[in-house]
Amino acid sequence: MIMTSIILIIISITGIVLIHEHDTHFFSRTRITTSILPPQYQYRLDTMRQAQGTTSSFQKDANSVPLSWLMYDLHSGTFFGKWAWIYYDLISVALILYSISGIYLFIGIMKPKSIKKKEC
């Protein structure tokens, strides 16, 4: 339950950040060193730099990834491994069910109840 709550907080915060990624320079300029990230990030960065033809350029960024990469990965669940999407899907489905049941209960409360007359 705590894990689910933490993931929901992560999804919400990263969602807000991604919505506002054009509103601030912070997320497009900030980079995170790959030494504190899982090893696949350095591989991904190297592959990207090779694909873009910038392996000999932007040397100061050769060992750091954009913060936006981390935000997308945390938001989509890929940061936690390739099977994390199943957990993310379960949380999403649970949230939809909670919302639908909440609406159902709310409508049930709001509906005027027929007043039965007391029988003498």
Binding site: H22, R31, Q52, G53, T54, S56, S57, F58, P66
Partner: protein, 143 residues
Amino acid sequence: MKYYFTLLISVFIFGCNGGSSGDASADLFGDAITFENITSLSNLLASKDENIGLEFLTEGIAIEICQKKGCWMDIKDGEDVMTVRFKDYSFFMPKDGAGRKATIQGVFTKETYEDTDEQGNAIIQEYYQIIASGVKLKKSLQN
């Protein structure tokens, strides 16, 4: 508790500077633009192979922007058209940015890919692009 909440909201509002570059007429994306002299696209393309891997400041009108994510744009300067992508996909262009003047600092690169000609023979195609580290996009449309 409400002080913490006010502080959080204040940090968020002041942290969001609208992507401005200090220049109210333009939005800045990616790293700050440090170059001063603009190299025109025609000059860049005139000696393409010598310019590969070098960093330039150039400009042009954004004529097309990726409508899926804003991850590439085509700029036009006179008759020359060039595709611009963004360093490590760390930033993207606004999808409604076409028609705005873009000033781009980035590296000129050459890409090759396999293709087939009309007879079905495999051929190597090559194209040139700019990998931008910083882009300044004017807010007003250019006619």
